[in-house]
């Protein structure tokens, strides 16, 4: 185990997989010479050379499409979109091609590719640079989606993503890049897709979350413990495949659930998860499932009002208090 940041854990995962498999190639805007806007690709050009680590033009749709073609041609491309917001320019290649090709061509090919994209709000970057678009991807069959919360998962999930024979959307939270944690040194350390992590055990209420929301849920659970409320926190790790079994079993046990999503609440993934819990656990539930979501507004710039648009530990704690019947 070594202590490292989420950023360095991602960097290590990339390095290990590039060393392990010569079919892994990496490209994106400013990923090579500039070493990445968030420095996740630091040192890669120096170690692996310009044949494998490539700067691209600012052409997001083609960044993804070239990866689709390269994957079909026998490589394992890892494409980086500078932020998830720019994935909107690549939605044709992501939704119409990357997610469809295997199925519409009758299973005759597969796309072992990863599209990495940092995202999330909270850095006062205003409406066009603060989005959480995970529900957009999750709505579409054909994609795997990972969104790590911790440095260890960042490493283990990214390595699994690169080895996955399915196309993977790999989301990274910009506010987690500097977070630190213990990360296994083993170059064969992999975190499997489709297995949620119970990051805190509890008995009174289940909190289902992902990425930065899982970290906030842990903070809320710490506060609630002082009030005598025992929270079980489930970090989804991957949104596709979605490990419904784990959160359903937990909600059945605790009888209460709060679902936390950073994205907008309307038609957001939290509604789907809450529905799955209601449907599977109706007879066990002691209260309706609550959702904590990003506010349904374009993100404002000013930090004073931006803050209230994104779920916080306090808003999560308040939702838990409501489902356990202690309104404040």
């Amino acid at each position: 185990m070594s202590e490292m940041t989420y950023r360095d854990a991602l960097n290590l995962a990339l390095k290990e997989e590039l060393r392990r498999d010569p079919s892994v190639v990496l490209w994106g805007e400013d990923v090579a010479l500039y070493e990445g806007s968030f420095k996740v690709t630091r040192g890669l050009l120096a170690e692996f050379g310009e044949e494998r680590i490539k700067d691209t033009p600012i052409s997001e749709n083609t960044i993804v499409g070239v990866a689709v073609g390269a994957a079909m041609g026998g490589l394992r491309p890892v494409a980086e979109l500078m932020t998830v917001n720019f994935a909107l320019l690549a939605m044709d290649q992501i939704i119409n091609h990357m997610a469809k090709i295997r199925s519409m061509f009758g299973g005759q090919t597969f796309l072992p590719m990863v599209v990495r994209m940092p995202g999330g709000g909270g850095s006062q970057l205003a409406a066009q640079h603060s989005q959480s678009l995970e529900s957009y991807f999750m709505h579409c069959p054909g994609l795997h989606i990972a969104y790590p919360a911790t440095p260890a998962d960042a490493k283990g999930l990214l390595k699994s993503a690169i080895r996955d024979n399915n196309p993977v959307i790999f989301l990274e939270h910009e506010l987690l890049y500097n977070s630190k944690g213990e990360v296994p040194d083993d170059p064969e350390f992999l975190v499997p897709f489709g297995r949620a992590n119970i990051i805190r055990s509890g008995t009174d209420v289940t909190i289902v979350a992902y990425a930065r929301m899982s970290i906030l849920a842990l903070q809320a659970a710490g506060e609630l413990e002082k009030e005598g409320v025992s929270c079980e926190v489930i970090d989804l790790r991957t949104l596709s495949p979605l490990d419904s079994e784990t959160f359903i079993a937990s909600a059945r046990k605790t009888g209460r659930a709060v679902v936390v999503e950073e994205c907008w609440g309307t038609a957001g993934l939290g509604g789907d998860i809450a529905h799955r819990i209601h449907e599977a656990c109706f007879d066990n539930l002691l209260a309706p499932v609550r959702r904590v979501s990003g506010l349904d507004v374009p993100m404002p710039y000013s930090r004073k009002i931006e803050k209230i648009c994104i779920p916080r530990a306090e808003t999560i704690a308040d939702a838990v208090r409501e489902v356990v019947g202690r309104k404040y």
Binding site: P57, N61, G69, G73, D92, R102, M104, F105, N166
Partner: protein, 325 residues
């Protein structure tokens, strides 16, 4: 002036070009009939009139070269070697289709033939062709990616992004524009500021030329030359083949935006009788032999229809297969 056929290819190869064009035409005309009978549903875009492009181009490529196309791609797949029976079964939506009935007319695919797909989002295939070319170059494979598209695709962002990218990374992509003058009902000069499409590549420092897309031998020669250039230099090249579709954009389109006179002019340049005339004039073959080829193609198409009709539908459980590995 037309080149003498004999100066370009051996007799047997020339006859093969003829046969492939006839097979493509008969296949498409049969599709139209099956569509009106309700056996083929959904969108159906027919290639009749443009055969010289697919046939001439395919002959100018190597078998290892990748081919990608848009949604008017039956001929490209069949000429590459796809079994007409399984292509027809795909159009019928049957389990025996090349894509198990999941792709249909617009999404034929056969990796064993390096036929890497028909794509139905205009311009969607550009970056994929670039990616395949990158993979081939990275893996040091002796192959190029030939990317077919229509005149309507040249105003998509991916066209410009991919031309720039292919040149910047020095990738072996052969761009083949089939200019049939109409993006559905919008004529080229109404959608492109510069209607002479091959000239647009100067912005990306990609050599280009225009070829008569109604002359199969001219297409063959242009593609062969271009493909070898791409192979030698690992730089992209661009061919604009000027052609015409004899039918509407799709079966739903009566093509009222084109004049009868214009249509007649192009019909008089039909690439199939044009080649037949030259083959006979140069005494490469006889009318009787050509009639025999037509009959053979007709029989193949009839067999394809029979195969498609008799094939089973996909099982309902099949919907969940082939989405993930």
């Amino acid at each position: 002036m037309e080149t003498r056929l004999r100066a370009t290819l051996p007799d047997q190869e020339l006859l093969k070009l003829y046969e492939q064009m006839v097979l493509s035409r008969e296949f498409e005309e049969s599709c139209a009939e099956q569509y009106t009978k309700g056996h083929i549903t959904g969108f159906l875009h027919l290639y009749s009139g443009q055969e010289a492009v697919a046939v001439g181009a395919t002959a100018g490529l190597h078998k290892d070269d990748y081919i990608l196309s848009a949604y008017r791609e039956h001929a490209q797949a069949i000429v590459r070697g796809a079994d007409p029976r399984r292509v027809m079964a795909e159009l019928f939506g049957k389990a025996t289709g090349v894509c198990k009935g999941k792709g249909g007319s617009m999404h034929l695919f056969d990796p064993a033939l390096n036929f890497m797909g028909g794509y139905a989002i205009v311009g969607g295939q550009f970056p994929i062709a670039v990616g395949l070319a990158f993979a081939a170059k990275y893996r040091q494979e002796d192959r190029i990616a030939a990317c077919f598209f229509g005149d309507g695709a040249v105003n998509q962002g991916t066209f410009h992004e991919s031309l720039n990218w292919a040149r910047l990374w020095e990738l072996p992509v052969l761009f083949i524009c089939e200019n049939n003058f109409y993006g559905i009902g919008t004529e080229v000069h109404r959608s492109s500021a510069l209607a002479s499409i091959h000239k647009r590549t100067c912005g990306y420092d990609i050599p280009s030329e225009k070829v008569d897309g109604m002359d199969v031998v001219a297409v063959y020669k242009a593609i062969k030359y271009a493909a070898e250039k791409v192979r030698e230099t690992s730089h992209p090249y661009f061919i604009e083949a000027v052609t015409y579709r004899f039918r509407g954009h799709s079966m739903a389109d009566p093509a009222k935006y084109r004049s009868v006179a214009e249509h007649e002019v192009w019909k008089s340049r039909d690439p199939i009788p044009a080649l037949a005339k030259r083959l006979v004039a140069e005494e490469i073959t006889t009318d009787e032999h050509l009639a025999g080829i037509r009959n053979k193609c007709l029989a193949l198409v009839q067999e394809a229809v029979k195969f498609a009709e008799e094939s089973p539908w996909p099982e309902d459980s099949e919907v969940y297969n082939d989405i993930y590995v």
